[in-house]
Homo-oligomer: 350 residues x 2
């Protein structure tokens, strides 16, 4: 019997989260789909009436994903837990190239929550779902006694359909591929952190919380088949952690250029004040796309044409050297290894 | 601005839960699938490659459902929160006649939980999933600071495929149909309640927590097409609430015979001691099936042949009179209306 206990950092999305997944969840929930460790699971729908369906390669595939949201405060500049709960799961499904269609919503409510506060959040979920083109089709509500939860937690799970021929995953990235980022980093995390610390800046911070399925659909429409290799949304653990996961999955190195990384001035100022690196700060409306080099310009133009990708940039490339490692070329010309987030930067950010 | 607040009874599965769903969730999440208010949502997978698929009626359909589990204590006779989280969602999917295939698992963990305790529960989930023939394919872990949750909450969502031609829902029950129950009532709820109260009985109580997808598959195999009308698992709010939901959905009356209801002696004793009616106590391994009258004997034999249905009985029938009402014929020959659960009998039972 060990006395080891769960720490906040086990939920950070960083190193300890990965250890927990690998040493506990994968040990017991051992199956090839979960082992992929993608943002969502892609599974084949078995044939319903065999004679009426085409070849196996054209069987419908669905993507399935879940996230629980425990963010504090419940409402913040740019969003609330309801908007976040819809966007987060929509985005996880979109990162497999799937078209998100249906969401479930599970509410865990602390006794005493104002009904009006709950209604505001439910209305926000509904509006966000409508904007993203998904339906909330099933749900559940549990109420726990006062002190057994903090106001409201929401779980969403989502199901989407994977278009025929689409195969997007971390292990498809190849040396030579180009890495794009759909906009500024750190907005969500620094918004939550400055809210909690009561900090004010000249230009107000706002969460980037947004549904990215439209952006992904545009990329799939625009790019030649097969040239969109990998997608990931850099949420908990930030861009650094997402790139490390991609490098590991691709068994290749990643090089990024620090000067290419878009960071809002207010985010930069808040990070400096609090001693944080925006590379490790959570985003909720950004994606990293790895594309074949010949498709990079078209991918960039496609992203920039979308309202949620106007500030997209090319941030680096996949390389053969240092497989599994992310290397940053700093603005001063130095090179440093960028690790996963270690420890917990900010609990309950999503 | 109203000062109305969420009460424990909003999570009871009874009257206030229904009001919350109808007045808040359905108001905002307005769509025809959610409006069905079945245990799971049944949706059509849109055609992937139109030319390769058959007629629309043969398009694959999936069932999708979610539940959060907040039970206290985490481990109890007959199960634990992990086993419950798998069975509960498997059963909700099975109640639409679907074959559950994939689960998601979302963990909300209070900082400080012993890793060994978490591992015991994860191992139990894995064993239960294997026993039920489902795979846990995607997941999420959040950790909240000490005091912001009570040890561990688990959300599971599930996806299953609905076999072609199967259409099972509350509104398909017709006057004349027979109502079957797959075994004793009140075992789960009274187990949890006596654990919390520290009560001991001569014959120990044990939760009935079990996956019912095998039972449903056997019914579908055995009965003539169309004769299995409705299925429901009487969880929160007990058999009384499940029957009221069925009567409402069917716009028909339901009559049940009190002497036919199987209740274990220890459950009866615990209910008497605590002043509770087993009709309102939660079950986690029982189903109510409404079948065409000519299929009743075959349905009963099929249920009894299964390990989870050995104590199945016919408990009543659907009638034309008193639509939406459940009437109980008591052992003394009196008739009384059985309402939904009003108020909260026992918080955090599942």
């Amino acid at each position: 019997m060990s006395e080891e206990r769960i720490l906040l950092a086990h939920g950070s999305g960083g190193k300890l989260s990965h250890d927990l997944v690998e040493q506990l969840f994968l040990k017991h929930f051992d199956n090839p789909v979960l082992l992929q460790l993608e943002d969502s699971a892609v599974v084949d729908i078995p044939p319903a009436g065999a004679s009426t369906l085409g070849p196996v390669a054209l069987q419908p595939r669905i993507a399935f994903s879940t996230d629980s949201y425990v963010i504090s405060p419940l409402v913040f500049p740019g969003g609330d837990i309801g908007k976040l709960a819809v966007c987060g799961t929509v985005n996880d499904i979109a990162m497999s190239g799937a078209r998100p269609l249906w969401l479930s919503a599970g509410f865990i409510i602390e006794e005493g929550l104002l009904l009006d506060d709950l209604e505001q959040i439910v209305a926000s979920m509904a509006a966000t779902a409508a904007g993203a083109g998904v339906q909330i089709v099933t749900g559940d509500t549990k109420v726990v006694d006062r002190g057994s939860a903090d106001k409201l937690f929401i779980n969403t799970a989502g199901v989407g359909t994977v278009p025929p021929g689409v195969a997007i995953s971390g292990d498809r990235a190849q040396p030579g591929d180009t890495i794009l980022l759909s906009g500024t980093i750190g907005d969500h995390g620094m918004t939550i952190m400055t809210q909690r610390e009561g900090l004010q800046f000249a230009s107000p911070l706002e969460s980037d919380c947004a549904p990215l399925n439209g952006l992904v659909a545009d990329l799939l429409d625009a790019l030649p088949p097969g040239s969109l290799r990998s997608l990931r949304d850099p949420t908990r653990g930030g861009l650094a952690t997402a790139l490390n996961e991609l490098a590991t999955r691709a068994r290749a190195g990643i090089e990024i250029d620090e000067t290419s990384l878009p960071v809002r001035e207010a985010v930069r100022a808040a990070c400096e004040l609090l001693g944080l690196d925006p590379l490790f700060v959570a985003n909720e409306g950004k994606l990293v796309a790895i594309v074949a080099p010949e498709a990079a310009d078209l991918a960039l133009a496609t992203l920039r044409a979308h309202r949620y990708g106007q500030e997209s940039t090319i941030i680096g490339r996949v390389v053969e050297t240092h497989p599994g490692r992310v290397v940053l070329q700093t603005s001063l010309g130095a090179r440093r290894i960028v690790d996963m987030l270690v420890g917990e930067q900010l609990p309950r950010i999503c």
